[in-house]
């Protein structure tokens, strides 16, 4: 691969939109993952034509191009493992159209999720595939990773909201994929292929997204369980009976202790908590779903408490779950929270077993892990808490990650529910998708024959995440 000619980049996007100072390059070499690598330049195109020209140049000169949103990915998706050009999309940040009659909106890739929802709110609608990082996450990044969040149980992931898109391919050509209609029957649905492709197939320059009505009523409550197994059975019962919840979150005992220790929120110290939420336009319909969930949870030993329709009260109930992520970061003075093995999905009937297995594996390997997540979607979040200055901890983490994914695969689960693969989950991904990797490579070659677009990610990432790149931590012993 070649190095970019800075003067050429400056001609394409303007000198003020190119960075090549080592300080900038160092910053743009990392994201929210454990990985780090140096790009050769960062560019900020402002329009489609500039993206096309950049890619034409990069393709002719065989220079890697790594599209980047806000760099909040947790698996190294935007870490420029082979150097090259980081293409920062944040200048392409226009909401182009909100079409209420036809129920779609068109946006550029750098639009922030929360900003889109602010623009949609006055019309009584919202874009639902919102991840927890919606305050900074770009729509382009969400599409590249098929992001989702706490309400995916009802509204699905990003893929469910993407109707169409415009994409610049590796050779600089612009293609329009999908449609603006709710349904489209014929041909390969290439727009769906791009969702979750992590910037390896093209650079998204416009997305057409659907939206849904903001529900008039929302009810949330907390179901307490003395046994994690009972909570697991309740999850399977609720989902198996088709109860239409808008949120079903699991918080295990380690997570409860972490939140109470770090923030003194006074969560009940039980073995597991399920947060349940239902929403809708009619109160009776919401009540119906909540009652159905309550009945099934009680059958499995759960006790529904603090049920409320009041927004402030709901926010208070959700606070423990919301603060879990920061609480884990403050768990100990010697350990830090690392984004590893962080978002697998397993069948509903295996949620409790998975949580137990995670604790068992963590203990065996000398790290601390917790289990929480959007169990209504089968998504289990974890974080590995460890002493990042200790090489033994890293070895333990490496073993724990491998064992967890081995288990997830053995129960019919999948490597990533919503954060993506990037570099750190590629080993597990490649094992899980072993019989379709050649197909994926063929697709990649068809779109990007010179392999300039975000190379060495997903199926093409180096073997062994621990040594794939430099790590972002100070490892002093």
């Amino acid at each position: 691969m070649s190095k970019p000619d800075i003067a050429r980049l400056q001609t394409i996007v303007g000198p003020e939109h190119v960075k090549h100072d080592p300080a900038d390059l160092y910053v743009y070499g990392s994201d929210s993952s454990v990985h780090r690598a140096m790009p050769d330049a960062v560019v900020r195109p402002g329009k489609v034509e500039e993206v096309q020209e950049l890619l034409r140049y990069a393709n002719e000169s065989r220079i890697p191009v790594v599209p980047r949103g806000s760099g909040s990915g947790m698996c190294g998706q935007v870490v420029p493992i082979q150097g090259g050009i980081v293409l920062d999309t944040k200048r392409m940040n226009r909401i182009l159209e909100i079409n209420l009659a036809d129920v779609y909106c068109r946006v550029e890739p750098g639009v922030i999720d929360d900003d889109l929802n602010k623009a949609l709110k006055p019309h009584g609608v919202f874009y639902p595939a919102t991840p927890a990082s919606s305050r900074i996450a770009t729509i382009g990044g969400e599409i590249a990773n098929n992001a989702s969040g706490v309400r995916s149980v009802k509204y699905g992931a990003t893929r469910e909201s993407v109707l169409g898109m415009k994409v610049v391919l590796a050779d600089g050509s612009l293609v329009t994929l999908g449609a603006r209609t709710r349904v489209e029957a014929s041909g390969y649905q290439l727009e769906r292929l791009f969702v979750g492709s992590e910037g390896t197939l093209g650079v998204l320059v416009e997305a057409t997204l659907s939206f849904v009505r903001i529900p008039k009523y929302r009810a949330m409550g907390m179901v307490l369980f003395d046994s994690l197994d009972d909570a697991g059975e309740a999850i399977a019962a609720v989902m198996g009976k088709g109860v239409a919840l808008s949120m079903l979150e699991l918080v295990d005992s380690v997570a409860i202790r972490a939140v109470n220790t770090a923030m003194d929120l006074g969560l009940p110290e039980v073995d597991a908590i399920l947060l349940v939420e239902a929403d809708g336009m009619v109160k009776e319909a919401v009540e119906y779903e909540v009652e159905a969930a309550r009945e099934l949870c009680e059958k499995h030993g759960g006790k529904l408490t603090q049920l409320s329709y009041d927004p402030a009260e709901r926010a208070r109930i959700f606070l423990g779950r919301k603060k879990l992520f920061p609480a884990l970061s403050k768990f100990s003075d010697t350990m830090v929270s690392t984004a590893l093995a962080d978002d697998m999905a397993v069948p509903y009937s295996r949620m409790a077993e998975t949580a137990r297995k995670i604790h068992e594996i963590a203990e065996r390997n000398g790290v601390v892990m917790t289990a929480y997540g959007h169990c209504g979607s089968g998504c289990m979040h974890t974080k590995i808490l460890m002493d990042t200055a200790s090489s033994e901890s890293w070895e333990g983490a490496q073993r724990a990650v491998a064992e967890i994914y081995e288990y997830v695969r053995s129960v019919g689960g999948t490597t990533s529910a919503e954060h993506g693969i990037g570099i750190s989950k590629a080993d597990a991904f490649k094992r899980e998708k072993a019989d379709s990797l050649d197909l994926m490579r063929a697709v990649k070659r068809a779109f990007d024959p010179n392999n300039i677009l975000n190379p060495q990610k997903l199926f093409d990432a180096p073997r062994g995440w621990l040594t794939a790149t430099d790590l972002r931590y100070v490892a002093s012993r």
Binding site: P22, A23, V27, R94, I136, K330, S337, A389
Partner: protein, 314 residues
Amino acid sequence: MELPRLRKWEHQLNACIRCGYCYEHCPLYKSTRWESDAPRAKLVLLFGLLNGQVEPTQSVTRRLFECFNCKRCEAVCSSGVPFTEILMDVRQDLRDAGLDLDGVTSLNAADGGCAKCLACVRVCKHEARTVGADQCVVVDKVKCVGCGACVEVCPRLTVQLATAHGVSSSDLAREMGSFLGSRPEGEPRAIIFCCNWSSYPGILNSRYEEAEPKDHKILVNMCAGRLPPQLLMHAFERGSWGVLVSGCPEEECEHDGNLRARQTVQSLQVVMGQIGLDPRRVHFVEVPRGSPGTLEGAIESFMVQLRELGAPGV
């Protein structure tokens, strides 16, 4: 290079989970929209300095002296990283190594002109300005937090911020003029000055041109105490129906800027009464940190009042 003060923060640099939630609150990032100016980037650079992957070049040093010390990033930090404390320590390390740079710290103009009135020394709450042996004002670049209070009190305009990042009086005047000039004839319009420490809302990093044009413009001015009365008056000269100034509640301001802002607004109200403008057209509101609803409510009732008052007659 030895960085003894920074070294003690190694655990905190590791503990930053690099979620990036600090972006939306950082005035520097709002100004440049480059990730490398956001707080997360500074922590990344500090990490690089510690482990020898980053050289302490002028470019790196400048970035570490560019922070308005508003601490909004700390308030939202997922990992509770004491960002400004770490930054102060590394600045001292860099200064000890002879590498301090201007950043956003306040300076005295190189060509002199200082009246030696010491107004800037008196107004500085951070003990960053002292009188040197030759009676010249000396700026401590480590202690200076770039609040800009000294800039506004200097009678000879000798004091400047090395880099204003869109919050100097001339920047604000330009933004103000551009908004006020864009409003249709006869339509209400007002300027809302927001203190970055307390009330400035989170970032809106997207553009939506079809959105209904607002009847007010929010301008971040960093500390409310920096607002000169001329700038507020200038809003009326450019056709504004009113000016709302928001600042920290009493006892909460780190620079005593809220007291100065309140005095500025009160003086202006007197002047406005004298020249036939309703004094209610300029108003000071206290907005505690982390309560955007208070600001929204204040703006709404201010705009209702301005509509009742109608266009200013003078």
